[in-house]
């Protein structure tokens, strides 16, 4: 059933009647198949020339092709497929250091300058994701008050140095005539990493004894487990509130690192072997039927045991415009006797995070001191250069990855969805800027590569 402002006003008003039949009460499976395609582009701004100590100042450009298919197999079940082909080009950032201008052995933001060591040439990489899934829908019955749906998916993500296998399941149950929805889910990923050396001077990666062997973790394996629970509540016919909480545990075999952050072909990034992450998010959806508009307001809290805490606030305004093709002129007049609906949604988002407890900017001398002479793998007896150790052989955690620094970011964007017959054309773009000054911690700290990016997405959905 279509909706427009007058019908929406009537329906919203009718739903305040206590005995009315809620159309949303029965969770029903989609009855039509749907295909969709999206082309997305993500373009990071270049690093300012004066910041680059070695290498090129280009950062990443990413193009993503996404395809999805949904097909009902009966009244209560659908199968789904999602595929992604992503190409990435740009230069990799090795590490950042500061030049100790006042020679006092520590970083002084006022005096010392921070620079970035980048890879010398642009790299080209490709990623392929493929997931298949199924979802089952359950109606309310005499035996059970609850309606709902549950489903799962399995798939892989493949790059030339990375394979991730994922299995995920989730479900949602509706209570109180669909006024209340409870959702829960869990996922598990097993990642195998085989980082490739970027330099010809580094030995073959299959040789574990070779200096320069890159490690994402000691055995290049990483497991991630995630669980989430959520609740949604219809407050009244025009307002819905929802809240979600999730907990994710990443578990590496040894120490988690970014293997491409290197110094003289040796990994210089050392992070704890586990990472526990918690998020809580809440949102409000308020429809204003008199002016055919909906307002979305969302808040997200994030905390992890690496010391990062973040808050995200986003606002979206979604007015809907309907063009009556009977009365239209020009191109619209050639369309058949169906209205064209436009949803335009400007969005605004603010984000800030605190710094990880082991984030630091080091001088080059510090790197040499920290790396040490090498480590013996007690399982294999192989010796290789690896990570930081203190004088007692204890692991030192350190990273200058800017994603672990304190900063804030603002982004603004616009989405457009045009519906005509069974087609929906969708597009959106976003402009993003970040800097320590936009954050609330270490606002005067110099972020060596605060990033700006532009992102767009265009595509369509078609039901048949």
């Amino acid at each position: 059933m279509k909706t427009n402002s007058k019908l929406l006003a009537l329906t919203a008003s009718a739903m305040t009647l206590p005995g009315i039949v809620l159309q949303a009460q029965a969770t029903s499976a989609p009855v039509e198949s749907e295909v969709g395609y999206r082309l997305s582009g993500y373009f990071e701004s270049d690093i300012p020339e004066e910041r680059v100590i070695t290498g090129t100042n280009e950062r990443y450009d990413i193009l993503v092709n996404q395809f999805h298919l949904l097909h009902p197999i009966n009244d209560h079940a659908v199968i789904t497929y999602e595929g992604t082909l992503e190409t990435l080009s740009g230069a990799s950032q090795y590490f950042s250091t500061y030049v100790d201008n006042n020679d006092n052995g520590q970083f002084d933001a006022d005096v010392d300058s921070v620079g970035v060591h980048m890879s010398g040439a642009s790299i080209e990489e490709m990623r392929i994701d493929s997931y298949v899934g199924a979802r089952f829908y359950k109606s309310k019955t005499e035996e059970s008050e609850a309606a709902g749906n549950y489903g799962g998916k399995v798939g892989f993500s493949l790059e030339n140095d990375y394979l991730s296998l994922t299995i995920a399941a989730d479900g949602a149950m509706e209570f109180d005539d669909a006024h209340t929805t409870l959702a829960a889910g869990a996922s598990y990923s097993h990642d195998t990493l085989s980082p490739t050396p970027a330099s010809d001077t580094v030995a073959a990666i299959d040789d574990n004894t070779a200096p320069g062997r890159k490690y994402a973790s000691i055995y290049d394996k990483r497991n991630s487990m995630s669980v989430f629970v959520g609740v949604g509540q219809i407050v009244n016919p025009t307002m819905v509130v929802q809240a979600n909480a999730s907990f994710t545990l990443k578990l590496g075999s040894g120490v988690l690192t970014d293997p491409y952050r290197e110094y003289n072909s040796m990994a210089i990034d050392s992070r704890p072997g586990t990472r526990a992450m918690f998020t809580f998010s809440t949102g409000l959806r308020k429809a204003l039927p008199d002016i055919d508009t909906a307002i979305h307001a969302d808040y997200r809290f994030y905390w992890d045991d690496w010391g990062i805490l973040s808050n995200t606030i986003s606002l979206a305004w979604q007015p809907r415009f309907i063009v009556d093709t009977d009365a239209a002129e020009g191109v619209m007049a050639h369309l058949s006797d169906n209205d064209v609906a436009f949803d335009i949604s400007p969005t605004l988002r603010y984000y800030h995070q605190t710094s990880s407890s082991f984030y630091e900017i080091l001088s080059e001398d510090d790197f040499i001191n920290l790396i040490g002479d090498g480590v013996v793998d007690t399982n294999t007896g192989d010796e290789y250069l690896f990570l930081y150790q203190d004088s007692n052989g204890e692991q030192i955690y350190s990273s200058n990855d800017p994603r672990l620094a304190a900063y804030g970011a603002i982004s603004g964007g616009m989405g457009l969805r045009v519906e005509y017959l069974d087609f929906a054309f969708v597009s959106n773009f976003e402009l993003y800027t970040s800097s320590p000054g936009l954050g609330i911690q270490n606002r005067d700290q110099e972020l060596h590569n605060a990033m700006d990016y532009f992102r767009f997405s265009v595509g369509f959905d078609y039901k048949f």
């Binding site: 009537l10 329906t11 009647l17 009460q25």
Partner: protein, 285 residues
């Protein structure tokens, strides 16, 4: 409820309790909102001239819905026009005088009602009539009870004197076929296949007044005080529920020539029967 009612339920279990349950609900609403019962809430409201009468949430919500209909129809759908029925006698075919109409119109107008936390306060002489809402609302309430009691996949058709609610398709995914009555022959002029939702019909062929060969609808224009000389013999609308379908079809009848535009704007499927008994269908696909 102003006419014969019918309930059909597909059930694997003994449905007697279900029938009892929904019939009780219909009686509850009849007792509460009938204009003809002396102790109904509506009768008490109609007696409470110029003072606040406390109302419950359900009644308040019905007034709220009536206000929405009043606003969307530019004042044509007005539950305060009940007093006009006192001067229009559809049984004797006698026309009221101009003075009578003017006197009545002074007691008509939804905007004259005060509804707040204290209840409702209406001017002296004003008569409220939930016709056009309560019968449809009853079909929805009964369906809601059935869905709660027998499960959200229960297949049932509730027909409250022409206002229908269908809960789900019949077994084997068969549509329910809702017959629309021919204004003259009383046979089916059309069958509307319905999976779920409300189907209501407004028309002047069951209740009307004929004076000097001219046929007037039982629907009264609260702005002029006269019955509608309808463009349509009947208007049937399929909606998300009976109460929305009902107000959509009633407003379409009240709007006469503009009724079709109103329904096109709502984008609800409809079947119009004009005075020549030709059918106009828009499935809104």
């Amino acid at each position: 409820m102003g006419g014969p009612c019918e309930i059909s339920i597909w059930s694997a279990h003994e449905p007697k309790n279900l029938f009892d349950l929904v019939i009780k609900e219909a009686q509850r609403l009849e007792n509460k909102y009938s204009r003809y019962l002396d102790d109904s809430v509506l009768t008490q409201i109609n007696r409470s001239d110029d003072r606040f009468f406390g109302i419950d949430e359900e009644t308040k919500a019905l007034f709220g819905y009536a206000k929405t209909c009043y606003e969307l129809s530019d004042g044509l759908f007005d539950i305060t026009s009940g007093v006009l029925k006192e001067i229009w006698d559809f049984k004797t075919n006698r026309l009221p005088s101009k003075a009578q109409i003017e006197n009545c119109l002074s007691k008509v107008g939804f905007e004259k009602l005060i509804i707040d936390d204290r209840g409702i306060c209406k001017p002296k002489g004003m008569q409220i009539d939930f016709g056009g809402i309560v019968k449809e609302y009853a079909a929805d309430c009964m369906a809601n009870l059935l869905l709660k009691q027998a499960g959200s996949d229960v297949s049932a058709l509730i027909n409250m004197a022409g206002d229908v609610y269908v809960t789900n398709p019949q077994p084997d995914n068969q549509y329910w076929q809702v017959a629309i009555t021919h204004p003259l022959t009383k046979n089916a002029i059309a069958l509307l296949p319905v999976m779920r939702g409300g189907v209501t019909t407004s028309g002047d062929y069951e209740r009307f007044i004929e004076i000097n060969g001219e046929r007037y609808s039982h629907l009264l224009n609260p702005k002029t005080g006269w019955p509608i000389r309808s463009t349509w013999a009947s208007v049937s609308v399929v909606g998300p529920n009976a109460v929305v379908a009902g107000s959509a079809s009633t407003i379409a009848m009240l709007q006469g020539n503009n009724g079709r535009n109103w329904l096109d704007e709502l984008e609800l499927p409809y079947l119009l029967v004009n005075q020549a008994f030709n059918c106009i269908v828009n499935k809104q696909e």
